[in-house]
């Protein structure tokens, strides 16, 4: 196991290095002067310019420049945002919790509804139920997320007026950011409008979370169903049935935990798509978060935000993909056998 973890860590470092290389090369193609693209300071004083040149080794050869670039970036110095002149890292850490909040709520919705529906589809002997569940998931899988988001906001927001379609909360509520998660911060706040603010935050997250949940939901349903169908045919389930165990116990205690292993694996594979969908959803529902921050940066030609945002988001995706893979292996004895066999 130790060697395996070491190899995964290695993979993480190698991928990150490749990412930094790509960013380093593209940065030199930005249509602005190099010190500006790297630091975000538009009109540096002589001292600042000297500092930038020293930091990024601008007078050295390409290799020296690359090492200096990798060093500053990986040490957390992402430069200043061109538009706000605040450190990019600070803006990134401010935007991240909002995106995580949306992702977590969507993930919970997907699993909470996806797993039972998948189990239901696998257990049902009724063809109509099976086919309709499969038809729904296939439709959900094929719907473009931007269309779904716009349709939901048009219908539930504009036509019916049931739910708000933009932002994280009505801005009249003054919520001090503590954790950065609006749902938690509203409850932590000492404002007299605490409960109303929490409800408002819940209302604001419903439509974007549902929009974002559709893709993982359909994947969870399909994988759960396929896995359940497989497992229910296995001898140990037959044995349990023969021993006269209750179907509920068989499904919940014996079949489902095994069926969830492939679900976990597929969630890891889906992470990249999920992250880009999250960005689209953030833009459609004008929610604060990394996605809308990055898109605004692109519109405003904020070169340091673009670099910092891409680096941050990509590192997070790489990290979580590898984390999920490790978890998957830790949880699944079968794949552990493969690791040892490979060694």
């Amino acid at each position: 196991m130790g060697r395996y973890l070491l190899r995964r860590l290695n993979l993480f470092l190698a991928t990150s290095l490749a990412l930094v290389t790509v960013l380093f090369i593209t940065t030199s193609y930005f249509p602005v002067s190099k010190p500006f693209a790297l630091s975000g300071i538009a009109t540096p004083t002589t001292e600042q310019l000297a500092q930038i040149e020293a930091d990024y080794q601008l007078n050295g050869n390409q290799l020296q420049q690359f090492i200096a670039y990798a060093q500053t970036r990986l040490s957390g110095d992402l430069g200043l945002s061109v538009t706000s002149q605040r450190p990019v890292l600070e803006e990134l850490t401010q935007a991240l919790p909002a995106s995580f909040e949306l992702a977590i709520v969507s993930g919970i919705i997907a699993v909470l509804f996806g797993v039972p529906l998948g189990v239901l589809a696998s257990l049902s002997k009724n063809k109509i139920t099976q086919h309709s569940i499969m038809a729904i998931t296939l439709t959900g899988y094929s719907i473009p997320v931007f269309w779904l988001g716009l349709t939901l906001s048009l219908w539930f927001g504009v036509e019916l007026g049931w739910l708000p379609v933009s932002g994280r909360i009505n801005l009249l509520y003054e919520i001090e950011p503590v954790s950065g998660f609006m749902l938690i911060d509203t409850l932590l706040s000492d404002s007299a409008y605490r409960i109303s603010a929490f409800k408002d935050a819940v209302f604001h997250i419903i439509l974007p979370a549902i929009t974002l949940a559709v893709l993982p939901f359909t994947v969870v349903v399909r994988i759960t169903r396929a896995a359940m169908l497989n497992i229910m045919e296995l001898p140990f389930i037959k044995a349990a049935e023969a021993r006269g165990l209750h179907t509920g116990t068989i499904v919940l205690r014996h079949a489902l935990p095994n069926a969830l292993i492939p679900v976990l694996k597929n969630m890891g594979l889906m992470l990249g798509t999920f992250a880009s969908y999250a960005m689209i959803v953030e833009v459609i529902f004008s929610r604060q978060g990394v996605g809308s921050w990055l898109v605004a940066g692109i519109y405003q030609r904020d070169y340091t935000v673009i670099q910092g945002g891409v680096l941050g988001v990509a590192l997070i995706i790489i990290f979580f993909s590898i984390l999920i893979e490790v978890l998957h292996n830790a949880y699944n004895p079968l794949s552990r056998k493969e690791i040892y066999a490979a060694n």
Binding site: A42, T43, S81, T83, S84, R86, E91, Q94, L112, F113, P116, V119, L120, L123, S153, G157, V158, G161, P164, V165, S166, G167, N170, L171, L172, Y173, E174, S191, Y193, S196, K199, D200, V202, F203, I206, H246, T247, G248, V251, L252, S286, Q288, S292, W293, A296, Y299, Q300, R301
Partner: protein, 542 residues
């Protein structure tokens, strides 16, 4: 098995129900007003910029000027100066200052004294005195004051008493008071500035503002919101709202959606095409204010073939202005016949302006010996008050010019890139406009077509005429209105003869708002004030 299915169904049924339970009960929202604004302010000090977005977020909300301009009566009214007096020769202006005006008490600064003459002197010395420690803090300079030559106008500002100052001018200047009444001429706190200098953070003066206005800044999150609280020490009637929030929403359609769903009660800079949507919603309405602005198509007169006046005239005759008014402005604008809008006191209806006439246009082109002409039109990528959709305007002009055999390429970039490239002055022609900063007619001429304005690159036609400069100087030197009016008529005639730019519209400033909000004030110079905003209960259908 059946039991399991039942329990799953139960869970599935419970979740929406529990969500509905949360939804029950009345929603309590703190009192306040949310305004959907169109972008991030660049700074919180309007002295440093000319962008309308920044002015909206600062001048009317955070600060006060010495005097204000009342668009209804067309006169100057007292603000921080309770009275003022010009000397007979027009070379000095004496201001008596209002007593007991408090600066904002904020988290970052607590003032110990009320507003006095030192604050006035500091606020203007920062601009005119290059020795002032704050003069060089601004990275962008003081563009409005530079474009009107403020530093050259004012020789000194003298403190007579704690509540009295005198501005000494180099020569009599008819537009001086009008310039003081703009949203740029705000009063900052000298005590705060000294404090920041002492702690070594002078640049904070423009980012964490302290003013005397009806609202004070609480916090600002880029791309998200600006939050203001009421200034409880405000020297005029207190605003009704304890809280004012600018919800920053760059997309026009998103602003409209937020207005419909109630996320904001007032929304900025709508597209004219969205007007029908407002009519469908009984609780929304449109607020209009005739604007002091002009939209034009400027020809680069330094570049062939636009250096030939016949070509410029030909192009001006070729465009159907009425069509642009219909398609781009949806009839919300007034057709421009010259540079001044009809609300200006110096305006005079000008019959000889260019009416749509393709035959004449072709004849003029033939006369100039030009056939097979291809030109570039640069169109701004963003909506401004004077032109909500420059790209569409460019397409209409493209079609009109095809009629006279001129080919058009439309060029556009993102706004900041567009401005940078425009300043290189190698374009053929550009669709842009001008929003006046004050009521003085000079503001329509000096900043955009004087030789001096060519240096500060706000003269988009690159047109410099000694004759025009002479007329403008004469008009500024006299304070007799009838004489000035005649001079500005001469300037209009000269402009008309040379057509450095073809003007086509004076746009009406529009905002969408909820009917529950009353008395938000649009100013004709493109600002909005929430000082007097009120809410009323709407009965009937909501």
């Amino acid at each position: 098995m059946i039991q399991l299915l039942k329990s799953i169904k139960l869970i599935a049924a419970m979740t929406p129900i529990s969500l509905l339970l949360i939804a029950c009960g009345p929603q309590q929202v703190p009192a306040g007003l949310v305004y959907c604004s169109e972008g991030n302010p660049e700074t919180f000090n309007p002295q440093l910029v000319t962008s309308g977005t920044t002015i909206d977020a600062t001048s009317q909300q955070l600060y006060d000027s010495l005097i204000d301009y009342d668009p209804v009566s067309g006169e100057f009214v007292a603000a921080l100066a309770s009275s003022w007096q010009a000397s007979a020769d027009g070379l000095s202006y004496r201001f008596k200052l209002r007593p007991n005006v408090q600066f904002h008490h904020t988290d970052w600064f607590t003032p110990s004294r009320p507003f006095n003459a030192d604050d006035v002197i500091f606020s203007f010395n920062r601009i005119i005195d290059s020795e002032n420690p704050y003069h060089g803090i601004s990275q962008t300079g003081y563009p409005f004051f530079q474009s009107i030559g403020f530093t050259e106008q004012v020789t000194s500002i003298e403190k007579i008493a704690n509540d009295e100052v005198i501005f000494h001018l180099k020569q009599s200047n008819a537009s001086f008071l009008a310039n003081l009444a703009t949203g740029f001429s705000v009063i900052l706190s000298k005590e705060y500035a000294d404090h920041l200098l002492a702690v070594g953070k002078p640049e904070q003066l423009d980012r964490m503002p302290v003013g005397t206005g009806p609202f004070k800044l609480v916090n600002y999150v880029k791309n998200e919101f600006i939050r203001y609280h009421r200034n409880d020490d405000f020297w005029r009637t207190l605003p009704e709202f304890e809280q004012l929030v600018f919800n920053i929403t760059p997309q026009s359609s998103a602003r409209l959606t937020k207005l419909i769903t109630g996320d904001c009660s007032v929304s900025a800079l709508p597209k004219a095409g969205e007007l029908p949507v407002i009519k469908q919603h009984p609780n929304l309405e449109v607020d209009t204010q005739l604007g002091f602005n002009v939209a034009f198509w400027a020809f680069n007169t330094q570049k062939a073939p636009f250096d030939d006046v016949r070509v410029r005239q030909a192009l001006a005759y070729a465009v159907d202005k009425q069509n642009i008014l219909r398609a781009v402005y949806q009839e919300t604008a007034i057709k421009a016949n010259g540079i001044l809008p009809p609300q200006s006191w110096a305006y005079h209806y000008n019959k000889s302006s260019y009416q749509y006439n393709p035959e004449k246009s072709r004849a003029l082109l033939a006369d100039a010996g030009i056939d097979d002409l291809t030109i570039d039109i640069w169109a701004m990528p963003v909506a401004r008050i004077y032109n909500p959709n420059a790209l569409k305007t460019a397409e209409l002009i493209q079609a009109d010019l095809a009629n006279i055999g001129v080919n058009v390429n439309i060029i556009t970039y993102d706004w900041s890139v567009f401005n940078q490239k425009l300043n290189r002055n190698d374009y053929d022609s550009v669709l842009i406009g001008w929003n006046a900063d004050n009521s003085d007619p000079d503001n329509f001429f000096s900043p955009i077509m004087s030789c001096a304005s060519r240096e500060s690159s706000s003269n988009r036609a690159q047109w410099c005429s000694a004759e025009m400069d002479e007329i403008l100087a004469k008009a500024k030197a006299t304070t007799i209105e009838s004489e000035r009016k005649a001079l500005y008529q001469q300037a209009e005639a000269l402009f008309n003869e040379h057509v450095p730019m073809m003007t086509f519209a004076h746009a009406t400033q529009l905002t969408f708002k909820s009917k529950a909000v009353k008395q938000t004030q649009l100013t004709p110079f493109g600002g909005i004030s929430f000082e007097h905003a009120k809410t009323i209960a709407i009965t009937g259908e909501l």
